[in-house]
């Protein structure tokens, strides 16, 4: 089985841009992985996301080098309307993504575009509203629901199309912490219950890090770091140079690491951080 996402020697330069947005990208993602992509603004994250879903080169003009394959087929070899069935995208602006006049219509829109039957639509609608807890909102128009709720609708609308790969481009950047958590709760549930490949681009690492199996750092259009999450966060110096500020717990252990008093695993959640700290202090006491 080839990896679900295979990117080889890929470069993309937008027309009229001086620099390529992405250079020499080599990435291979196995199906079912939960990947986090981070990096400063302008590092090429959105370009990468759009390269996976066919918007590049479909909607944007520029020069492409190398290959981007989803499930073994080049992205531009898919016929129009086929790629959204493989790769679903959630964008960052909850307002702009909501295209219908009620929540239910929004959820059903993608499924109708795929030509699904009424029975199939009903079934998927049930499943997706349960997963995202949107049942009470089905009849509501967009101007009566919050940004966080709209993002959950976007997530649900894309999930209803059952793509094999989900790409989320800064899905929570415009949301408050409570709404943010709810979106990640859905992603956590998705991770537990299904075999989707999920790629999340984010600035806010606190919620992402516990879920990600693998983290990729983009910097100036190149992959600066790519590894399993625990190993990823050991690279304190590289992360700092790239302008990445990990969550407090991780940053604390970086601080200790940099002063040479810690060589253990970097805890990825608050609970793990507390436990690790307890371990350290207890150890000192026993010395």
């Amino acid at each position: 089985m080839p990896p679900i996402v295979e990117i080889e020697n890929y470069s993309w330069r937008y027309l009229r841009a001086e620099q390529p947005a992405l250079q020499d990208i080599n990435l291979s993602i196995e199906e079912g992985t939960f990947v986090g992509v981070i990096g400063p603004n302008g590092s090429g994250k959105t370009t990468l996301a759009n390269s996976l879903n066919g918007l590049i080169p479909g909607q944007y003009q520029g020069i492409k080098e190398g290959t981007v394959k989803i499930a073994g087929t080049e992205v531009d070899a898919y016929k129009p309307g086929e790629l959204p069935q493989m790769v679903g995208v959630v964008f960052s602006d909850p307002e702009a993504q909501f295209t219908a006049m009620t929540v239910e219509d929004e959820l059903v829109f993608g499924m109708e575009n795929l030509g699904l039957s009424l029975a199939e639509i009903r079934e998927r609608l049930d499943w997706v509203t349960d997963l995202t807890q949107l049942k009470p909102l089905l009849e509501k128009p967009p101007y009566e629901i919050s940004g966080g709720q709209k993002q959950r609708v976007a997530l649900a609308a894309v999930l209803a199309m059952m793509p094999r790969v989900m790409v989320l481009d800064e899905p929570t950047s415009m949301l408050d912490p409570v709404s943010r958590k709810r979106v990640f709760d859905v992603l956590a549930r998705l991770k537990r219950e299904s075999h989707n490949t999920v790629i999340v681009i984010e600035h806010n690492l606190e919620n992402l890090v516990p879920l990600a199996d693998r983290m990729i750092l983009l910097h100036n259009g190149r992959v600066a770091l790519d590894s399993e999450t625990g190993l990823f966060f050991r690279q304190a110096a590289t992360l700092e140079q790239a302008g990445v500020y990990p969550p407090g717990g991780i940053a604390f252990f970086h601080g200790l690491m940099q002063r040479g008093v810690y060589t253990g695993e970097i805890p990825l959640t608050l609970d793990a951080a507390v436990a690790a700290l307890e371990g350290l202090i207890e150890n000192r006491r026993h010395e």
Partner: protein
């Protein structure tokens, strides 16, 4: 007769605000804000924090109670007089930029105040200087600038009004960390070097921990906590009601208090220092 009683710059007395359709947004708010403060207004969406901030500069007039700014009651004062005292920077710069070039954009405010031409020029240049815009930028069309630049132009256009207090709505949303720090450092500079009162409306708790001296936590239209940053972060009950959590580093400190850490730590550096102190024992 000398006035021995110190009066705050912004005084909110038993203020309530009801939207035109009847929903109660703010209930019986009492606050006072002095010169030299750096305040973070936190709370979840719908808590009333944005409504409160708009009441502080006269964009909204209270339905009961009073908001007194620099001795003027917002209900009895024109908006033009109010914005000279309390500036408000909206979250999305695109909601306000409409001029064909950066110069005119920044000059808009002073021109509204009917200031003489050379005064307008001085203010534009001054404001632009503070946010780091150069003479080359003046001819640019705001629409084509990057988001960060547009935000700076928006801030400059408020600075040109030379208010004493600036409120910024979500200064860091949608920015990456280096950009967020840049904006916050401006605001800190304005506070430290130029004596502005800074009020940020935000839910970025690490930023609050790093820059704000005072935190006002809101929920359900009321003030749930109001005090120095570390104190408010320690008030778990109020924060929970406001649907807000302290930054992760403070949470780590709080949960490690039993090991000897100070639960009021606000930064990684602090906690690391504490570790070495504890380790040394």
């Amino acid at each position: 007769m000398s006035d021995m009683v110190h009066s705050p710059y912004i005084d909110v007395k038993r203020m309530s605000y009801c939207y035109p359709d009847g929903t109660q947004a703010l209930r019986d708010i009492n606050l006072s804000i002095d010169h030299g403060e750096f305040i973070a207004l936190v709370g979840q969406n719908g808590s009333g924090k944005t409504t409160l901030s708009k009441c502080l500069n006269g964009l909204y007039k209270p339905t009961s109670g009073d908001v007194i700014v620099d001795g003027l009651n917002t209900r009895a004062t024109s908006i033009v007089q109010m914005v000279r005292r309390v500036g408000y920077v909206f979250q999305n710069p695109d909601h306000q930029l409409f001029s064909a070039n950066v110069w005119d954009e920044i000059a808009y405010g002073p021109r509204n105040l009917q200031l003489p031409k050379d005064e307008v020029k001085a203010r534009v240049e001054g404001a632009a200087g503070i946010v780091g815009l150069t003479a080359d930028d003046f001819e640019e069309h705001p629409f084509f600038l990057t988001k960060g630049m547009r935000q700076r132009v928006a801030i400059a256009s408020i600075l040109a009004l030379q208010p004493h207090a600036i409120m910024v709505d979500e200064p860091t949303t949608g920015q990456d960390i280096p950009q967020s720090l840049e904006i916050m450092n401006f605001l800190q500079h304005l506070h430290d070097e130029q004596g502005y009162i800074i009020i940020i409306v935000t839910h970025d708790m690490p930023i609050v921990a790093r820059y704000a001296k005072r935190v006002i936590a809101m929920g359900q239209g009321q003030v749930l906590a109001d005090g120095p940053t570390a104190d408010v972060f320690a008030d778990r009950a109020a924060l929970a009601q406001a649907f807000v959590e302290p930054p992760q580093i403070t949470q780590l400190a709080q949960r490690s208090a039993h090991l000897g850490f100070d639960a009021r730590a606000l930064s990684v550096e602090e906690l690391v220092q504490q570790y070495f102190v504890l380790r040394g024992r």
